[in-house]
């Protein structure tokens, strides 16, 4: 899976491209794990993810848990309404800070 990563002003921007499912979730997890440094500030932009399966939801939660264990912060943005609904119904949404815009995400990641 294509994962665009850039850093700007101390914030790491991660932008996966494509569906996050049983095939791609491990790739995303591998890529992000390396970026979750202690006290890192991460904006995960989901704007180019159309679909997320339950394996995808799990990779997101694993990212969140890693960040928490390293005192890092992850803010989600660009989550489409379908994914948001699945995340909400399954309870995964409650773990995350979700921002409506990238700008908002930057301000909330601290």
């Amino acid at each position: 899976m294509q994962i665009d990563v850039r850093e700007d002003g101390g914030v790491v921007f991660i932008e996966p491209v494509g569906d996050i499912d049983g095939k791609t979730a491990p790739e995303l997890l591998d890529a992000v794990t390396n970026l979750v440094k202690p006290k890192a500030r991460i904006v995960l932009n989901m704007g180019r993810v159309a679909f997320m399966s339950s394996a995808g939801l799990r990779s997101m939660l694993l990212i969140y848990q890693q960040a928490k264990s390293k005192d890092a912060k992850v803010v989600l943005t660009g989550v489409n309404s379908n994914i948001r609904k699945s995340m909400s119904a399954t309870g995964f949404l409650a773990f995350f800070v979700v921002a409506d815009t990238v700008q908002d995400a930057i301000s909330r990641v601290g």
């Binding site: 499912d21 049983g22 095939k23 399966s53 339950s54 394996a55 939801l57 799990r58 939660l61 848990q65 609904k85 699945s86 909400s88 119904a89 399954t90 309870g91 995964f92 773990f95």
Partner: protein
């Protein structure tokens, strides 16, 4: 470190496989692949059929026995993947969330004919659902018309069991402290008045949103009508005139799979992702627990959706008919359930399946307890005879994982067994107390001569459960079967025409009373009487020892238009009307305050029976009986009063006020002489159903004192509840 058995040994049409692990049954995600395991004693041939999700044609059909090639060369090799009577293989490299699977089974005998009796019903042309499927596809969105011709309509799916419970555990609230709310997941939020988005209404997640409503009501346990996968289209009928389903299997007492939540009850069902469905339900359970609310499942282990000789082959009958079902010697299905077949629950294999399922729900979903539909069937042997010591019921009672789960029996079946009071309990089982329900109803409608039986009901039915205690008694006036509360006081007879069975279905002995007019009326006197009778019923239920259960909708006095068997109606008649909370706010407030009163008073929640004795010499026995004259119960009439000594609350381990309850089911007001309290104590009124709101029930703790401390006038057909405590308290 990776295990040394991750490498395949065989290959079949490009799929790499090796012999599997028999336990656990079903499909499990293992390192590198998916392990499949299925039992059949009588099949000698089995094929694993794997589909891409939703596809009509399989991806591959892998036999459990035959010629394969070696995993890393093209050399032919024989393989058999079976241990004992269990077919098991691991398929490596499968995308577990992208597939659905089933089995074909055969034993080489001529096939049974539809409608004819048979011991075996193998049919290798049918792809069978895995009895241990943890998610089932095919009815993913409630009411979405399926492909009726699909050859494999109910499809087993693979589930990730991992979930972040954040430390959640079952609550283990003592049984005597529960107030149970019997409810239907879809019915709870499907009504437009719920305010939930139409796309989400009627689901687990919608229910989660509405937990504050339950919390406000004060119940601390929900009992969900069946949520195991079932087919809402079973025996459905389309109404062409109104372009809607006139009848569906709305209640769901017809299980397809015992390990799978009903996908159509999940808002994520539309994602065709079994794990999301599981996550959604787990998330509901976690949130209920956070709010101090337990969750009990109404489970149907007495029969399956496969019906009788004419029924469809979905799973069990095609896997091992004579193991899963009770059969006559000729091969007809015994029908103790009244629905066509009877699960052979005391066969050792089926017994293990029931145990496995319940352990799975208790451990993976943190379910707090189970209510067993037609539980008396679980005490029958494979030939249908009731057993004195049924191994399944004993195993459930002593199971280590279910050790703290509530086990509740509907202690009868459709084959004539009626075991209320005699259900094999092993010190663990509670029962839906149908006798208590009938007594409460008869006393409520003013039948004379019920005071003795009513006294037993107030005590938690020691006449039925003398060795088991009041927690064996789940008390209720109404449940999903029969009239609901509003109809109990509005109809003398059932009005079930909407069920399309010419009013033949449903119970005829309802012990109901319409208060003077059958059905809806504008007559203010009748309406007032009905309102009071509903309050009387709730009051009697909540001051009785044992475990009270309230039916969804009764807390707002919703009517089902006299229909006492609404199993097939997916309509407003069954959906909770949220606007009634405002329309009937006085009644809702009464129910809420009654629940709060019960929770505030441990004297109402004894674990052991009260003895009508005063062993500690307080001067008042734990319970004493009264009538219009103090200390003199009126036998055989329509009046009963009792006094609880709060010093004996919770078997003397807790302290409470004196509680005095006067029940006057006579048609005129009567003066009740009050028992004298110790010096310094005063009577206060908590509830008086003959008063208009808000004086019908005060907020517990703020009860006003009574001017006349010696007598109390109880209005016609009313209940009064007094508390006695010192002036300072």
């Amino acid at each position: 470190m990776q295990g040394i058995d991750i490498q395949p040994t065989h290959k079949y049409q490009g799929y790499k496989i090796r012999s599997g692990r028999p336990f656990p049954f079903g499909a499990s995600v293992v390192p590198g692949g998916v392990n499949f395991s299925v039992f059949s004693r009588n099949a000698n041939y089995c094929v694993l059929v794997i589909f891409e999700k939703g596809a009509a044609k399989p991806l591959v059909e892998i036999p459990f026995r035959g010629m394969f090639t070696k995993a890393f060369t093209e050399e032919p090799v024989w393989g058999e993947f079976r241990i004992g009577n269990v077919f098991t293989m691991t398929v490596l490299g499968l995308d577990d969330e992208a597939i659905e699977y089933g089995f074909r089974m055969d034993n080489g005998l001529p096939q049974a004919e539809r409608g004819k009796p048979a011991i075996h019903r193998f049919n290798p042309s049918v792809v069978l659902l895995d009895p241990y499927a943890r998610a089932i596809g095919g009815r993913d969105v409630w009411g979405r018309a399926p492909d009726w011709n699909a050859s494999f309509p109910h499809r087993s799916r693979v589930v990730f069991d991992d979930y972040d419970w954040e430390g959640d555990r079952p609550l283990e609230i003592p049984l005597e402290d529960l107030v149970i709310y019997e409810m239907h997941v879809r019915g709870f939020t499907r009504h437009p008045s719920s305010g939930i988005d139409a796309a989400e209404a009627g689901t687990f997640s919608a229910m989660r949103e509405k937990i504050p409503y339950l919390k406000e009501l004060g119940v601390n346990c929900v009992e969900l009508m069946p949520i195991y996968e079932f087919d809402e289209f079973e025996n459905s009928r389309w109404d062409e005139d109104h372009k809607r389903w006139a009848k569906m299997n709305y209640w769901g007492y017809s299980t397809i799979g015992f390990f799978s939540p009903k996908a159509g009850y999940a808002s994520t069902g539309r994602m065709n992702d079994g794990t999301m469905v599981a996550d959604e339900l787990k998330s509901l359970v976690k949130e209920l627990h956070r709010n101090g609310i337990e969750i009990i499942l109404d489970v149907v282990f007495n029969h399956t959706a496969e019906g009788n000789e004419y029924g469809p082959t979905i799973s069990y009958r095609g896997i091992d008919n004579s193991t899963y079902y009770m059969l006559t010697p000729e091969g007809y299905y015994y029908n103790f359930s009244g629905t066509g077949n009877t699960l052979n629950c005391n066969n050792p294999i089926v017994r293990d399946m029931v145990l496995d399922a319940l352990r799975y729900w208790a451990s993976q979903y943190h379910i707090d307890g189970f209510r067993f539909d037609l539980a008396s069937i679980l005490s029958r042997d494979p030939w249908g005879g009731p057993m004195a010591n049924p191994p399944l019921l004993e195993a459930l009672a002593f199971d280590p994982i279910l050790g703290k789960c509530k086990l509740i029996a509907e202690a009868w079946d459709a084959g004539g067994l009626y075991q209320v009071g005699s259900f094999p309990a092993y010190g663990r089982w509670a029962e839906w107390n149908g006798k208590c329900r009938d007594t409460l109803r008869r006393f409520l409608k003013g039948e004379p001569g019920e005071t003795g039986a009513m006294g037993q009901a107030i005590l938690g039915s020691p006449n039925l459960y003398h060795l088991r205690g009041p927690t064996a008694s789940i008390n209720f006036v109404t449940c999903h079967d029969g009239f609901n509360l509003a109809d109990l006081v509005s109809y003398n007879g059932k009005h079930n025409e909407a069920n399309l069975e010419d009013n033949r279905d449903g119970a005829n002995d309802n012990a109901s009373w319409n208060c003077g007019w059958e059905g809806p009326t504008e007559d203010p006197a009748i309406l007032a009487l009905r309102q009071r009778q509903m309050k009387n019923a709730i009051a009697m239920l909540l001051v009785s020892q044992g475990v009270p259960m309230i039916l969804m909708g009764d807390e707002v006095g919703q009517s089902r238009l006299g229909n006492n068997n609404t199993y097939g109606l997916d309509s407003e008649i069954n959906w909770l009307d949220w606007s009634l909370k405002e329309t009937n706010k006085d009644f809702h407030r009464f129910v809420k305050n009654m629940i709060a009163f019960r929770q505030a008073h441990p004297a109402l929640r004894s674990r052991e029976f009260l003895h009508h004795a005063d062993p500690a010499g307080y001067g008042y026995s734990d319970i004493s009986w009264h009538g219009t004259r103090a200390w003199q119960p009126d036998c055989g009439g329509r009046v009963l009063a009792f006094l609880l000594n709060g010093k004996y609350a919770k078997d003397g381990t807790s302290r409470d006020d004196f509680i005095y309850v006067a029940m006057n089911m006579y048609w005129e007001a009567l003066p009740f002489e009050l028992p004298r309290l110790p010096d310094g104590f005063r009577w206060r009124v908590f509830a008086n159903t003959s008063m208009p709101s808000p004086e019908d029930a005060f907020d517990p703790g703020s009860e006003p004192g009574l001017a006349d401390q010696n007598s109390f006038i109880a209005g016609e057909r009313s209940v009064a509840i007094l508390v006695g405590r010192t002036a300072a308290s």
